[in-house]
Amino acid sequence: MIKTSATRDVVTTLVVAALLITIMPQLIGTYTLTVLVVYGMLGLSLGLIWGFGGILCFGQAAYFGLGAYTYAIAAVNFGESTLPMLLAVLVPALFAAILGAMMFYGRLTDVYLGVITLVVTLILFKFINSTAGPQYKIGDARLGGFNGIPGFQTLNVPGRPNDYIWGDAYFYFCAIALVIVYLLVTWLLRSSFGRIAVGIRENETRIALMGYDVAARKTVLFAIGAAIAGLSGALFANWAEIVTPGLFSLGQSAEIIIWCIVGGLGTRFGPVIGAAGLAYLKFLLGQQSMIDNTLIIGLILVFFVLFLPKGILPAVTDIWRVSFGRRKRRGARTRRGRGGRQHG
């Protein structure tokens, strides 16, 4: 049963992804779509650690920015993109592992966790902003302070620094990367590690009493989330072709949290769709100058917290079940029996 539901899960993911990848470029330009995909991956990273691990990180933007900066700095130094991509995943993961270990072994929870991650993001933001002078450089890369780092080597075919991957090809690259990450997250959540992570979210004390090392598991999950955020940061750097301190800003962190809330916590697809949807909405709002778009984003967040705290995806699933689920109740129940809904 588990095997078939897992297979069905993978097949559904692949079919939906293939459909979206073919249809969406007809509707929205691939340039905009690329950044939506990148944000989707960023949303997924927080959706994983918050929705399934119960760790509310206010500083997911820190790993996003760290990934982007690592990529940019390494790309300037190496003049090639394969190793920088790997570093952009490893450095944020390592940073998160150290920070996470400090917090989780100190048994810090919710509010304190939120404040520390927020403060760390601020420290990075302030520090990077102040590195305008020529004395701040790593290898050949000048950090550039407020202006950021422009003009680094963008993504190329491994081993051939002159064959750039850009335009449509880059969109497909990002989309496939997102699908792979999504499948990896699916696999992780189906593994015993993922199930215990959900257990920790539900009742930390009970899991600890069962003999699991809660702090270590939370640290690892936190680092995995950071690795995904770092990867999306590197992809973003390649798309924007410049990295600026704005990547670390509180506004960026806020947006990631909003994506997860709006899309639906405790689901994998919710944060992805929330991120892409809201980023596109912001893009559309940016084209009109009538109303400031911060105002609308703010209203959306308040509205969702008050009226739809579970997010869009669970709400839609509920409506679907109420209107169409009755006839198929039997089939639905056996599928749900294996926790299929949990992983929605």
Binding site: L108, I116, I258, G298
Partner: protein
């Protein structure tokens, strides 16, 4: 000698401004357990209220000390009735809703005042000590924050209203059983917290160029000060403000202002790791 005096004033000023920034949040978060991420925007609106009032011809001190707290307090009241009221006890949800509110206010103020820097000049002239120029306004800020602390302490400790408010925050069901409406008391407390935030924003307004996003500069400092302060309202506020103010000023003078800011944040992380219950979770226990 002159330098010592100047540094002393600067340190006192740093501590005082931290107290001002955090006092409103200490009431809203420390007492009511509402994580108000729109605190910075309340301060920002206090600043705008002051500037608008001054431009309309109101005396600047009246504008700062009376108009701004009232305006922001009323905004806080509306916010409490419309949003916060439904979210008491849901920590994460209040945090997210108030974050939404903060974005909403930024958008609103941008819409009304435009995305430009506004400001007013400081009403108190500076003077020189030896070779150094001292900003006279710093003394005003120190005075206001001392007065604010004394008033807060007096209200909470010596008046019936303060006693009822503290009691309700501890056991709202008991307060209700004794005939007080927790709903109203929460509303009034939130009003006071917002008003204090408005006052702080107003008093600090002449020192900064005000933009709609300037609330962001306060919010992190306010939070770490209140959280590091711990359960006791006033003792926590004073102790953590003193600690962070001294640390940041020390590094500001020793190295640079940016390092001073970073040192403050690092100190906060280290302190929270060592004393997760805050300073007053360990020392000054049971004090107000």
């Amino acid at each position: 000698m002159d330098l010592t005096f100047v540094i002393l004033v600067e340190m006192l000023y740093a501590v005082a401004s931290l107290i001002l920034i955090s006092a409103g949040l200490a009431v809203v978060f420390g007492m009511m357990k509402v994580i108000n991420l729109a605190h910075g925007e309340f301060m920002m609106m206090g600043g705008y209220a002051t500037i608008t009032a001054v431009n309309l011809g109101v005396n600047i001190f009246v504008a700062m000390l009376i108009v701004a707290p009232l305006v922001v307090g009323l905004i806080g009241l509306v916010v409490e009735r419309l949003v916060i009221r439904h979210l008491y006890g849901r920590l994460v949800d209040t945090m997210l809703a108030t974050w939404g509110l903060s974005l909403f206010f930024i958008g609103m103020v941008t819409l009304i005042f435009g995305n430009t820097t506004t400001g007013i000049s400081t009403p108190i002239p500076g003077f020189t000590v030896g070779n150094y120029q001292v900003n006279g306004y710093n003394f005003f800020i120190i005075l206001v924050s001392i007065a604010l602390l004394i008033v807060m302490l007096a209200v909470l400790k010596a008046t019936r209203a303060g006693l009822i408010a503290r009691g309700t925050m501890q056991r709202s069901d008991m307060a209700a059983a004794l005939g007080y409406s927790p709903d109203r008391i929460y509303m009034a407390t939130f009003f006071c917290g917002s008003a204090i935030a408005g006052l702080a924003g107003a008093v600090l307004a002449p020192l900064v160029g005000l933009v709609p996003t300037s609330g962001g500069a306060y919010i992190a400092k306010a939070f770490i000060t209140v959280i590091a302060g711990g359960p006791s309202l006033i003792a926590g506020l004073i102790s953590s403000s003193t600690l962070f103010g001294l640390v940041s000023q020390f590094f500001t003078f020793a190295i640079s202002p940016v390092i001073g800011e970073v040192a403050l944040l690092v100190a906060a992380v280290v302190l929270l790791r060592l004393l997760p219950q805050g300073v007053t979770g360990k020392f000054f226990k049971g004090k107000l």
